[in-house]
Symmetry: C2
Subunit: 334 residues, 2 copies
DNA sequence: GCACTTTACACAAACGTTTACAATAGCTTT
DNA sequence: AAAGCTATTGTAAACGTTTGTGTAAAGTGC
């Protein structure tokens, strides 16, 4: 139905080879006159290139696939904007795939969709790949890089913040404001990221001569619900004066639950969030945060894919952003 | 580098035709014995199918492209989940493309990425296509459907809520609670969607014998900032007792700005949001909303693409969800 | 006017699949 | 035992491109 270069060739009275060269702007391969004819023919036929066919013969693709896990937290869009920006600079296209939350089967489908087609590389945003799917990915021989997630033993390529620093910096910020009883809410301890944040948190406290009571750390999956649950566990008469939320969502969960328990933020309880997405400034009071540089992660991810030699890991900077959810503690409360 | 069916054919000692048939499970075309051999060969070679090549000859694709505009508001993920669910039911894959906000060039790139490749159809989520890009889309001959956006004159296929009803229902809900001075904040009047909402709003007031003062309607682009700006325009001593936010984001903008102006929600000002995404329950007080059924839009969109005969438009239901941001007005305030 | 280079184009193979058609072998019928 | 099936497999064309090689015509230098 749709016009092909064959149709153009016929209409312009040249060979398909010439058409291809003209359309690809391979100058010094054709005269201005034929270029004219070809362009005209293409225009009247409403020609649309079939890039898939072209990629088949050139054996190279210009599309980057970004695989995201369904957004329990919401930083993905910032990473994607970074990816888009850098991709555009190098004339690459970006397609995005949803891989669901923890459903290995859905992950597999997303992965297959891109592996079976020509893509130049795969970026995985905070997706914790099931073992069999990781094998799939590696078998595909395609360049790939994990973003905003880290791994312990295996030497997988990833780009993320220094999660130990994240935990440390958040905790230290609260210590600096005079807090000494500090919780950590909604963090996950099954994966490397969460474990590192806990370690950073613990170390900061230790440096200040404080030992975290076991119930100060409430585990969870970084979600809003996890934050709520954690705060419910702390209770209305908690001895804590501050809480580190494992993510923006978790911090909001903590904050809303605290309010429901009759605790005002930051008067009765200070909160600091980890991530620093736009959500932090949407809520009231706005949330002080340890902000990750998601945009740069996206950029670095694309660069990683383009690089011949993969240097396997990279750390992006973090930054404390002061907003309204942390109160300076002068004397002792309680 | 990667193994092809040719390699499998050689290893298994059969023709590529047979390999293809075995791998495609075209039963009754081969014996169990050869199937065995082929499968084994495929496994040892780590064969990955090149679907692009297959799609080239079969001239049909199993992927649906969803084009989203960068998320100023955030309902896209719900629509996408609907798309995914329905697509999965029919063995279709989904890829997502970012088309930016209002940058025609970025739109074009996103569109081209999919038009030039084999896709079975295109879903456009709330993207307001530049005229030249619409032409591009239509030239491609691909099935397409707009979601969560409507058009006036042109007969384009779209699926969305009844925007007049949305405006009407939100306003009526406030009238039912005794409000009579009601603003509309952050709505856009350049496009059909916004105009319809304004009309519904105006009609509801009119039915109650109220004429909206010109400054009750504050135009904007549905964003958080638009909500803030609107509220700033109303001012601290506004005579309004309630405001309809044009989107969840806009409503939050109104609410936070109101608080900054010293107005408590809902005590001093009631707010109702349009969209009803999860954001509504994240903020405090949670936002009463006219909720759209985004998930169903996604489902309907996929069905539309699959349908032979396109019935061009479809309306999905809406629903009032009561939360905490609307106060019942008994006597008159002011 | 010869040898040589350049310019401008066409031919045809290749990319990795699917599938219509042909071909072979073994059975069944008669 | 000839004819006709059926089951299984192979051959080769096709999808829409790109690109190496070939070649005729035109231009250049002597």
């Amino acid at each position: 139905m749709a016009a092909t270069i064959k149709d153009i060739a016929k209409l312009a009275g040249v060979s398909t080879a010439t058409v291809s060269r003209v359309l690809a702007h391979k100058t010094a391969f054709f005269s201005a006159a034929t270029a004219q004819k070809v362009q005209a023919a293409a225009a009247t036929l409403g020609y649309q290139k079939n890039t898939a066919a072209a990629e088949l013969v050139t054996r190279q693709s210009h599309v980057i696939a970004a695989v995201v896990n369904s957004t329990k937290t919401n930083f993905a869009s910032q990473i994607i904007e970074g990816i888009q920006a850098e991709a555009h600079r190098h004339d690459l296209n970006v397609i995005i795939l949803y891989a669901g939350d923890a459903d290995a089967e859905q992950q597999r489908r997303a992965l297959m969709t891109v592996i079976e087609r020509p893509v130049m590389g795969i970026l995985l945003l905070s997706v914790d790949l099931a073992a069999e799917n990781l094998t799939l990915l590696q078998q595909s021989q395609l360049p790939y890089c994990f973003l905003s997630i880290s791994f312990d033993g295996e030497r997988l390529p990833y780009i993320t913040s220094d999660d130990w620093q994240v935990g440390y910096l958040a905790t230290q910020a609260l210590l600096d404001q005079g807090h000494r009883r500090i919780g950590l809410a909604g963090v996950d301890s099954d994966f490397h990221t969460g474990r590192l944040r806990v370690l950073g948190y613990t170390q900061a406290l230790k440096n200040a001569g404080i030992t975290a009571a076991p119930d100060w750390i409430q585990l969870g999956n970084y979600s809003y619900a996890a934050g709520q649950t954690a705060m419910r566990a702390y209770g209305a008469k908690t001895s804590l004066t501050a809480v580190v939320g494992a993510s923006d969502m978790a911090a909001i969960g903590v904050m809303n639950q605290a309010r429901d328990l009759g605790l005002a933020v930051p008067t009765d309880l200070s909160i600091i969030a980890i991530d620093g997405t736009e959500l932090c400034s949407l809520v009231q009071p706005s949330l002080t945060s340890v902000s990750q540089n998601f945009y740069e992660m996206g950029i670095a991810g694309v660069q990683q894919l383009r690089a011949k030699e993969a240097l396997p890991q990279k750390i992006t900077p973090i930054q404390l952003v002061n907003r309204q959810s942390v109160r300076r503690l002068n004397g002792d409360r309680k």
